[in-house]
């Protein structure tokens, strides 16, 4: 579907008020149960059908821990600031994107993985490419976009904020790495994004809700064994590795409950966090 078709469909779906005659038309099938358990959320799910985008340094396709990619794209910015997206023939020259893809695959083995490479055109243009790449990825209607990147450029904050809100209302969950340094950075601080920090437990499926945001959840981000270039593995630490753990969990939930909105998905994450209530299993 082209972006223009998407735009058209979106306009048709937008409602600005609720006349009584329209009441019958807003019945939604995806309801949360009386008690949201981990078993309800992702029990039996392998991620099959969930579409996950790794917005990063590219991904080494065919790595034993990554497997096949459904698509790999590279983003640059054209003369008028528009996103230029081509099939990515370079892959990953850093290793970080491959590590993230491997983490998602380890939790959601059957999800559909896509790579959108926004690194590889120097530092100077990296902010514009990040915005263009994120904008393009949102148009593709992924269920989850993993964004272990941030920018400190204030001039990019308003656009990132608009993009994050757009993703939220289009049904794409944006999972972003929080910063653990005393600096302002974006987009993880926005409430339409789900931001991730690290806990120290060696448990990939364990995550905590943070009652003191802006960091909203803590996931496995210390001493993580990850895929690296050339089929290798490495032990790593950092919020940028906690983030794909949450992305993998979201892929499991979305595969089982494809109609959940980001708003509901975040509620499910809250309800199934290890420190909230007494969730099952």
């Amino acid at each position: 579907m082209s972006a223009a078709d998407d735009q058209h469909e979106e306009e048709e779906l937008q409602a600005w008020s609720l006349p009584t005659s329209a009441l019958g038309g807003i019945s939604l099938p995806a309801a949360l149960p009386e008690r949201v358990t981990r078993d309800w959320a992702w029990g039996g799910s392998t991620g099959a059908g969930a579409r996950v985008c790794i917005l990063d340094s590219g991904v080494e396709a065919g790595h034993p821990r990554v497997g096949a990619l459904e698509g790999a794209f590279a983003v640059s910015v054209g003369p008028d600031g528009e996103a230029v997206v081509v099939e990515d023939t370079v892959g990953d020259e850093c290793g970080h994107g491959t590590a993230c893809a491997g983490i998602v695959r380890s939790l959601a083995p059957d999800c559909s993985l896509f790579s959108v490479r926004v690194i590889g055109s120097g530092f100077t243009g990296s902010g514009a490419i990040l915005l263009a790449g994120l904008g393009w990825a949102i148009e593709q209607g992924f269920d989850v976009i993993n964004m272990s990147l941030s920018t400190t450029k204030r001039e990019h904050a308003p656009t990132l904020h608009e993009l994050a809100d757009r993703a939220y209302f289009r049904g794409t969950m944006l999972i972003a790495s929080a910063h653990n340094m005393p600096v302002e950075s974006y987009p993880w601080r926005f409430s339409s994004v789900t931001s991730i920090g690290s806990h120290e437990l060696p448990e990939p499926m364990t995550f905590f809700y943070n009652p003191s945001p802006p960091v909203e959840f803590f996931a496995h981000g210390v001493d993580v064994e990850v895929a690296w270039l050339g089929g290798a593995t490495m032990r790593t630490s950092g919020n940028s590795f906690a983030t794909p753990h949450m992305t993998g969990i979201c892929a499991l939930v979305m595969a089982k409950h494809p109609d959940l909105t980001p708003f509901q998905l975040k509620s499910v994450l809250h309800a199934t966090a290890a420190n909230v209530g007494a969730p099952d299993g």
């Binding site: 100077t124 001039e155 653990n180 290798a232 790593t236």
Partner: protein
């Protein structure tokens, strides 16, 4: 030139800013190495005009001959850390021969583990600090916090010195202001009584200019 820049230019005239810059970078690398009981530490600064990372300082193991070496700003771990604004900790890097070779080319030896953290000040990204082969075997969040705090302090110092450097360049290039920076530097080196006399003369000049 703005008032603040002029004051910075005068300070730069006094400071001997290039030497201070080298000393500061070296001191940051030394301190980072000491904090984490590491075998080596290195600093890459971003040259925004050429969009390159420059290997500016090293402490401990690693070849000093690599100092000044340049690479594209999005290369390898340092490039990712700079662009993503996120710190990374990598262990067992020897498992990936290509990666180990890349790191060795950038640092002068093959480490088994490294931490890399962006040097950020406000919305500026100034460069990347790397700490190689720290002593502790298992990484902890406390270390990550320490790394972040130290990187922040280092970035503040680099920012201040960078500003003095730019101001000095501007003053040197501005014929009407260069004498003021030189005058400040000269005054600083005079014995106290001559310095007092010089300052009295300047105050008199200020009064004349104010009328």
């Amino acid at each position: 030139m703005a008032d603040a820049d002029l004051r910075a230019a005068v300070a730069a005239g006094v400071l001997g800013v290039e030497e201070a810059h080298r000393d500061l970078l070296r001191s940051i690398a030394d301190t980072a190495r000491a904090i984490f009981s590491a075998r080596a530490s290195s600093i890459f600064l971003l040259d925004e005009e050429r969009d390159e990372l420059v290997f500016e300082a090293v402490s401990g193991e690693g070849s000093k001959s690599l100092l000044g070496r340049r690479m594209p700003s999005d290369t390898g771990i340092a490039g990712w850390v700079l662009i993503a604004r996120q710190p990374l900790v990598l262990d067992d890097v020897g498992g990936d021969p290509r990666f180990a070779k890349d790191v060795a080319e950038a640092t002068g030896y093959v480490p088994s583990g490294m931490m890399a953290v962006p040097l950020l000040h406000g919305d500026e990204a100034l460069g990347v600090l790397q700490v190689l082969d720290r002593k502790s075997s298992r990484f902890s969040l406390a270390e990550m916090e320490l790394l972040g705090l130290f990187a922040n302090q280092a970035a503040i110092a680099l920012h201040l010195l960078g500003r003095a450097r730019r101001a000095r360049k501007a003053a040197d290039g501005d014929a009407s202001l260069a004498p003021i920076a030189r005058l400040a530097a000269r005054l600083e080196t005079l014995p106290p009584e001559r310095q007092q006399a010089g300052l009295a003369l300047l105050e008199a000049l200020e009064r004349v200019l104010a009328t």
